[in-house]
């Protein structure tokens, strides 16, 4: 690699999250410690073990999508488009205006704009709805094509999401969907950063989206008891790091970031949220759903991500946790942070916004990166809602219930997912002092 590493900064953020509207609504909600978990309203959950979820009150038409965009796209694509619109507007970049006139400084070269969109389960909701029609609710193995929408090919392969984003912004650079289960949203931002670092793009529209609140998704997590059964108290159902935690709460949503090469952003005087100084992932090669309590591979990912930016573990002021609220995850992750940060772990603040917005599978990684970037920019750490009863195996400072004003120079966001994927990304304040 060349001596002068290309640096990557975040210049735009867009969020579609449960219980709120847009980036600022999301930030207001999570810093207020308000939870968006509720009894499932999308379908009657009575026959399901887990009956709560963090749903988004989402209407694509009211948020700027055309009737055709809504018609042909699954909800996960619609939410990604809305989040991307907000992120791009926030960045001040102007796509599709050409390279002349007073806007030229903010018009990126379309050939140098990439797209990396994460999703764990893609168009699962659309695929299930259509399946119900063509199979007549499971009656026929040989499904009936007369009841099929013509956009099923679009739904079958989730790369349709990257295509929709590329078309919307005229992005001719490398485009891909990243689908590493529940780390998709960290990996997509990580891959986007690599595109910029490696010189293959100057701007990347990077993020993730998932809309898994459907019968098949709820059923498959029911059977392995990964989701909570705290059905009588939905608002307090997601309890990361708390001794009473009993599984995650399904969520949905999207977040998109505009990643930009540092000099590209400087030239146009863009406002910078933070720099992406490192990203790494590792696999545990252990079990598709199980985690060993020692957190070794997640710690390895954290170590590598810190090392890329030559950041000392003691500099990390905030960890945005995976914190899904399953017994094994929160213990595993606590061990990983101890392993990577050493004695600095005793001082670090770590919180899980899944306590408020649930676990939107692949999307949540990007939503959490958005939260982390806002925390770095604004000097406020979102809390872990519902945290009341400490667990001896989870012994860090989880920022219980109430947001904390605290300036943070370096923050970490981590994730862990089915398949054994472990990912970590490091965000640093643009005003961070370095020797």
């Amino acid at each position: 690699m060349s001596a002068e590493r290309r640096r990557v900064v975040v210049t735009g953020i867009g969020v579609v999250a449960p219980g709120s509207m847009g980036r600022e609504g999301f930030w207001e909600m999570i810093t207020a410690g308000r939870t968006a978990t509720r009894r499932i309203s999308f379908f009657d959950p009575a026959r399901f073990r887990s009956q709560v979820a963090a749903e988004v009150d989402f209407d694509g038409r009211k948020l700027g999508l055309t009737a055709q965009e809504v018609h042909r796209n699954d909800r996960f694509v619609q939410m990604a488009l809305v989040a991307a619109d907000e992120a791009v507007a926030d960045s001040g970049l102007r796509f599709g205006v050409g390279g002349t006139g007073s806007d030229a400084v903010d018009a990126p070269d379309p050939d140098r704009v990439g797209v990396t969109l994460g999703t764990a389960v893609g168009a699962t909701m659309r695929l299930e709805q259509e399946y119900v029609s063509v199979s007549d609710a499971g009656k026929h193995w040989l499904v009936d094509p007369r009841y099929a929408s013509r956009f099923l090919a679009h739904a079958l392969v989730p790369s349709c999401g990257a295509t929709e984003l590329a078309v919307r912004f005229g992005a001719h650079g490398p485009a891909t969907v990243v689908s590493t289960g529940c780390t998709s949203g960290i990996d997509s931002v990580g891959y986007g950063s690599q595109l910029v670092e490696d010189g293959d793009a100057d701007v990347v529209i990077a993020g993730a989206s998932d809309a898994p609140i459907s019968p098949i998704s709820m059923a498959c997590f029911d059977t392995i008891r990964a989701t909570t059964d705290s059905n009588d108290d939905p608002e307090h159902a997601s309890k990361p790091f708390d001794a009473r935690r009993n599984g995650f709460v399904m969520g949905e949503g999207a977040a998109v970031l505009v990643l930009e090469e540092l000099e590209h952003a400087r030239r146009r005087g863009a406002e910078v949220y933070c720099e992406v100084t490192g990203y790494a992932s590792r696999c545990n090669a252990f079990h598709m759903t199980g985690l060993k309590p020692d957190g070794t591979e997640m710690a390895e990912a954290i170590d590598q991500a810190l090392d890329q930016g030559r950041i000392d573990p003691a500099e990390v002021g905030y960890v945005n946790a995976h914190g899904s609220g399953t017994k094994q995850n929160d213990r595993h992750e606590t061990a990983a942070v101890h392993k990577s940060l050493g004695s600095a772990a005793d001082r670090v603040a770590m919180s899980s916004i899944k306590s408020m917005v649930g676990h939107s599978l692949g999307a949540i990684g990007s939503i959490e990166i958005a939260a982390t970037a806002l925390a770095v920019q604004r000097g406020v750490l979102p809390p872990t809602a519902n945290y009341e009863v400490p667990d001896p195996e989870c012994d860090l400072d989880y920022v219980p219930k109430v947001a904390r004003e605290q300036k943070v120079d370096v923050a970490l966001s981590v994730g862990s997912g089915f398949g054994g994927f472990q990912s970590a990304i490091v965000l640093a304040s643009p005003t961070r002092r370095t020797e």
Binding site: G138, L142, T176, S179, A226, A285, G419
Partner: protein
Amino acid sequence: MSLLVTGLGVVAPTGVGVEAHWESLLRGEHAIGPIEGFDPSVYGISLAGQVRGFDPDEHVAPQLKVQTDRWTWMSLAAATLAAEDADYTAPEDVYATSVFLASGSGGNEFSQHEIQGLWARGPKAVGAYQSIAWFYAASTGQVSIRDGYKGPSGVVVSEGAGGLDSIGWARRVARRGTPAVLVGGTEAGMCPYALLCQATSGRLSTATRPEEAYLPFDRRANGHVVGEGGAILLVEEPGAARARGARRVWGEVAGYGATHDAHHHEDPAPDAAQYARAIRLALADAGVSPDEVDLVVADGAGTPELDALELAAIGAVFGGRRTPVPVTAPSSWTGRLMAGGSALNVATALLAMRDGIVPGTAHLQEPVGAPGVDLVQATRVQELRTVVVLARGAGGFNSSLVLRRDPAGATA
């Protein structure tokens, strides 16, 4: 960043194992035939490239088989074949090997069974493995777990371009210090629901005879035939491959380029400019001029419009040569395997370079006019040093890979 291909694992309609695949191609055997297992005529199609000789029990342990879809069985088998071909065993450093596969449609058949159970009989009918069998990362995760590979692993989705893109991403992984990466991918979209989904693209051939169904670059082109399977390859950083005494180098991944049409959610850009740019990016990355390219392994979509655009892109890049560039579409023998197809084409290109034989395009009897392009009809003998592999993904993904038979600096 140069990578060496040191192992090939093929599970394809043409055969299980790299030599079986190659011999089938050279014999000109049709791997496309009537769909077995159910009557697909309601979907307006009757043919597919199914992997008929694949017995999962030969490749996948029973406890693993019950928790995985056919697509993952094929990935597990292909990964083993690639590692065996490379004589590769997990090194002491557990983080030194990555699994970076392309995926297209996930665990289709497994999922159709489970979702049928859910809607016919209720939530309790859904088995414990649905959550890990159908999602797009299942094959990567299972290979990593079975073989103990803990390096940075990933899954990319760009429909048919995915196989090449996984190699492009593997180069980023290697550049950041992981010396060995399993790349490529497989696909299995043969159950009724997945076939129906694919049929809604309007791009499937309705022909009933294999010799009339999937005819890329032929005036009679009328769509494509779907297939299943694919290939997994082991790529290694050259120093690491040498250090472990890799027994064979199939060739070098010398260059890669990817673009997106960003034109329309379904229709390709009418000028093929971004497709041509992807080819130029890969050539520039490899430091190879159009004159040095001995063969282009094309995407070969098999619809008149997409074929014409591909030939336009190839013509734009290679049109200035003294001799027309040879172009072949081996997918015509197998059907389109989505993410698995472009990975299989890389394996085919490496085999062609090894033996100096170019497999022809199936049933290419009435080639379309293609200035500056030499469409390969019959199998021919030709020394191949540099081959370009092209792939497109529905929606506008364009990818290009440059392979060299003799790695740069190999003799130094």
